[in-house]
Symmetry: C2
Subunit: 473 residues, 2 copies
C-alpha cells in the first residue's frame, strides 16, 4: 500500500446502525443462492492462495520499473491465460526508476556501532563514502518544520516520531508524513542527510522502506529509516551527549523505465460493456517478496474472479481484474489506467481494490449514489455471516482506484483488519508465510459475493435519489 486517506468515521457503531436501518433491495432468489455457494467455495479456495504463493516464490520481489517487475508481468499474463481469463493483456507505461545499491548508517566515536537502516525509495545518494555529521533529533516532523536553520544546518536530522497500531491503519497517515517530507524540509534548512524512525509497528531491527516525496526519479535529499530499537538506541546515546553519525547511501536512478498494468477479464453476456473492476498491485518493494503488499490482494481478486468463472454461466457484466504496476513509487499504474480508459469511465459500474494485506474483512463500506444504498444493504446482509459489519457510504476506494472514485465510479471497500499489517509492510518480512490461509480465504468469499451480485443484477450503483422523491420529503 502506498498511502491511504484516513477515515475517522465518527462512530462506526452508529454508522453501522444507520446502514442497518436502510431497507435492502430485493434480490433474485437464484442470484442469492449462487452467492451463498460462492461464499462457501471462497472459504475453501486454493486458487487464490496458490496465485500468491507462486508469484512470491517464482518471481519474488517486484520493484517498480525493475527487471523483476517485468518478469512478474510476463508471469501474470501466462498464469491468467492458463486460468482461462479473456483478453489478457499488458497496458505499458514508463516511470522514473529508483533502486538501492547499498546503505549503511553508523555511530562514530567512543560508542562506535552500526545502526540497522534502509534507504527510502527515491532517496538521493550521498557523496561516495557517505556524509558524517552531528545528529539533531526532533520528536516530530512538525518540530523540524518549526526549527531555525541554525539548528539544522550542516547536521544529520533525525525525526523520532512513532506510529500507533490500529485496525484500520489510520496510524499510518500521520506517521508517513515524516517519510514523505523529511528530505525536503531538512535540505531546505541545510541538513546533509535525514534519518527517520521507521514507519511501522513492530519491535524488531527491521526498518521499513517506502517512497518519499520527489520530483522525477530522485528526491532532493538522502534519507534512511532506522528500526525502532535503533531509534531508541540513538535517542539513548543523545541523552548521554552529542552523537556523530555517518550515512552512506548509494542508489541507481533512471529517468525512464518500463512498467505496466496487467488486465484480464471474464467477458459478460448482455451487459458485457459494463465493467466490474477488481484491482490490486503487482509491484512490491524490493526488501520482501510483496506477499501482503500486495500479492495477497492479487490472489484475492484473481481467486474471487476464478470462482465466478467456475459458474455454469457467465454473469451479465464483464469482470475486469487489474494488476496495477508501479503503485508503490507513486500510483503510476492508476494514473496510466485513468488516462487509457478516461473516455470509458461511465462503463465502470463498480470498482474495488484489495491492498491492505490478508487480514479478515470486518466491515464493508460503499460509495454509491444515495438512491443505490438499498443495494449496499442487500450485499451487506449476505456478508454478515462472514463476520462483516455493514459500514458507511464514505468508502475511499483504495490507492489505485481512488482516481476512479474521484471521477464518480461507485466503489466498495471491504475493510480488512490491518492490526498487524504495519509489522511487515515494506520490510524483508513481507513474505508468503505471513498470510493466514483462513483469513485470506474469507476475503475471497467477500470479493466473489459482491462482484457476482454486481455483475449479475445489472444494478446501477450511481443511482441518485429521484428528484420527486426528494420533493416529497
Amino acid at each position: 500500500m502506498f498511502t491511504r486517506t484516513v477515515t475517522l468515521g465518527a462512530s462506526a457503531l452508529i454508522l453501522a446502525a444507520t446502514a442497518m436501518a436502510q431497507e435492502a433491495a430485493p434480490l433474485d432468489a437464484a442470484i442469492e443462492s449462487t452467492t451463498k455457494v460462492l461464499i462457501q467455495q471462497g472459504l475453501n479456495d486454493d486458487v487464490g492462495l496458490k496465485f500468491v504463493e507462486d508469484l512470491t516464490t517464482e518471481v519474488g520481489q517486484r520493484l517498480a520499473g525493475s527487471e523483476s517487475e517485468a518478469r512478474a508481468r510476463d508471469w501474470s499474463v501466462a498464469e491468467l491465460e492458463e486460468l482461462g481469463f479473456d483478453n489478457v493483456r499488458v497496458e505499458t507505461f514508463e516511470i522514473p526508476f529508483w533502486s538501492r545499491k547499498s546503505e549503511s548508517v553508523a555511530v562514530m566515536g567512543e560508542s562506535a556501532q552500526p545502526l540497522v537502516a534502509t534507504a527510502l525509495g527515491g532517496s538521493a545518494p550521498t557523496p561516495k563514502g557517505g556524509v558524517t555529521a552531528e545528529v539533531v533529533r526532533f520528536e516530530s516532523l512538525y518540530d523540524l518544520q518549526q526549527a531555525p536553520i541554525s539548528k539544522v544546518d550542516g547536521k544529520i536530522v533525525f525525526i523520532d516520531e512513532g506510529m500507533i497500531k490500529t485496525m484500520d491503519g489510520s496510524g499510518y497517515g500521520m506517521a508517513v508524513r515524516k517519510r514523505s517530507q523529511c528530505a525536503k524540509v531538512s535540505v531546505e534548512k541545510g541538513a546533509v542527510a535525514c534519518l527517520i524512525r521507521s514507519v511501522g509497528t513492530q519491535p524488531h531491527r527491521m526498518p521499513h522502506t517506502g517512497i518519499m516525496a520527489r520530483d522525477g526519479a530522485e528526491a532532493e535529499g538522502a534519507v534512511a529509516a532506522i528500526s525502532g530499537p535503533d531509534a531508541d538506541q540513538l535517542t539513548r546515546l543523545l541523552e548521554r551527549g552529542p552523537v556523530t553519525v555517518s550515512v552512506d547511501i548509494q542508489t541507481e536512478i533512471k529517468t525512464n523505465a518500463p512498467s505496466g498494468n496487467v488486465i484480464a477479464e471474464l467477458t459478460g453476456t448482455d451487459l458485457k460493456d459494463e465493467i466490474i473492476l477488481l484491482g490490486c498491485h503487482l509491484d512490491s518493494w524490493d526488501l520482501g517478496t510483496g506477499a501482503l503488499d500486495d500479492g495477497a490482494g492479487c490472489g484475492i481478486v484473481v481467486g474471487a474472479a476464478m470462482l465466478i468463472a467456475g459458474l455454469d454461466e457467465r454473469p451479465r457484466r464483464t469482470i475486469r481484474v487489474v494488476l496495477y504496476g508501479a503503485e508503490e513509487v507513486g500510483l503510476f499504474g492508476a494514473t496510466a489506467y485513468a488516462r487509457e480508459h478516461g473516455d470509458d469511465l461511465d462503463k465502470h459500474v463498480l470498482a474495488s481494490e484489495s491492498d491492505f494485506g490478508a487480514g479478515p474483512i470486518w466491515r464493508f463500506q460503499t460509495r454509491f449514489g444515495e438512491a443505490a444504498l438499498p443495494y449496499a444493504r442487500t450485499i451487506q446482509n449476505l456478508l454478515m455471516p462472514l463476520g462483516v459489519t455493514p459500514d458507511d457510504n464514505r468508502a475511499f476506494g483504495g490507492p489505485d482506484i481512488g482516481i476512479l472514485a474521484r471521477a464518480g465510479v461507485p466503489v466498495v471497500t471491504p475493510g480488512q483488519n490491518g492490526m498487524d499489517y504495519f509489522d511487515y509492510h515494506h520490510t524483508p518480512d513481507d513474505t508468503f508465510d505471513k498470510i493466514k490461509p483462513a483469513e485470506f480465504r474469507q476475503n475471497i468469499a467477500v470479493y466473489a459475493a459482491f462482484a457476482y451480485i454486481a455483475a449479475e443484477t445489472g444494478w446501477d450503483f450511481r443511482r441518485q435519489p429521484d428528484p420527486e422523491e426528494i420533493g416529497t420529503e
Copy 2:
C-alpha cells in the same frame, strides 16, 4: 549462550517433589531476615538494569577479540570501580579472531532473488565473487551424513532442520548440531558451501549467527544461516525444480587477538579466601548489542552483588563477579579462568552463572554433595515466594562455569524461562528493549538471595554423606 547440555529431567514434577521431601538445614534468623530484605530490594533494583542499558548503549556489540570487546573491558573496569567493587582487574588471554566483512546469498536464474543470510562465526571466506552451484537439500544433518559423495560433490548443501521452542532451551542442543557440523561434513563430501536453516524460533527474516566447529580461527568451509522464511522459500523453489544459488562470504581472520576476563570482588571477612563466583560473559555476537546474550547476565550478577555490597556488613566469604571474555567463540574465557585459578579451585565454594537471557527464574537446580542437600532446600524454600520451583541436584552450571563444575566446584543453576530466548539469540534483535524489567529484577532477587546465604553461612556445599550415616541406611 554458546552451547548448553540438555537436561531432559525425567519429570520435573517428581524431582521437585523429591527436593521438597528433603529436610531443610536450619538458617540463622538474622541471615534469613536479611535475605528477605535483599529479595525485596532485588525486585525494585535499578543498578543491574542500568548496567545493561549503559553497556549495550555506550559500547554496543562486543565481538570477541574485537576493538569493541576491548572497549567493553575498559568500560566494565571503570564502571565496577565506580560502583565500589574491590580488586577490579582484567585477566588477559589471546584468541583466534574471526569477523565478517560481507555476505550475500542469492537464487540465480528465472526466479532470481536475494535470500537473507548471515555468515556463521568461523566461516571460511568463499573465493572473491563467491561460488555458484546447484543446491542439494537435506532435512537433517543426519541425512547429510548418510548421503553419498556423488549427491553432494560440487554442490551447495542446504540443511533445513528446524528447532522447537521450549522453556528450558532443550530444542537448541539438537538444532545447533547442524550449525557446528555442516561445513565439516559438506567439505568432506566435496560441497562448495553450506547453508543452514537459521538456529532460532522466530518467523522473521532475521537469521541467527553463532560459532561453528573449527580448528584455529577459521573453519574448513563457508557457511551461512538463512532465515526461516528464506529456508521455506528455498524449499518451495526446490519443489519446482533445480535451484542454483550464489554464496559470497568474505571474512577477516587473525591468529591472535586480545581478550580477557573482567573480575571484581566484594572481599569477605573471616572467610575471605573462600569464593562465591557469579559469572556472565561480556562478549557478544556482532549483529545485536548482546543485551539478552549476555548483557542481562552481567547486569543480574552485578546488580545482585551490589545489593549485598549495600548491607551494613560484608558477608564472611568473598563474592567474585567474573565477566568472561570470548565465550561465544569457544569458551576461551572459561578455559583461561580455569588455567589461571586451577590451583585454587578448592577455595571456590560455590559458582553460578547467568547466560540465558532475562526471563523469570522458574526453577532452582543445584549440584551439591549429597549431604549438603539440606542447604539447597533452605535456599529453595526462601525462593519459593518468587515463583521458583525447587528442582534437582543435576545442575550443569552453564557454559562458562561448566569447567569448574566438572572439576568439582558446587554450582547452582537458577533456571530461566527461555521460551522466547531463541527468538532473539545471536540476531540483530538482541537489544536492550527486549529485556522486561520486572522479570529481570526477579533474577537479581534470586541471585542476591542465594549468594548472600552462601557467603554468610559458611556452609560447605561439597559435603559428602558421612560414611557412618551411609552405613546406617
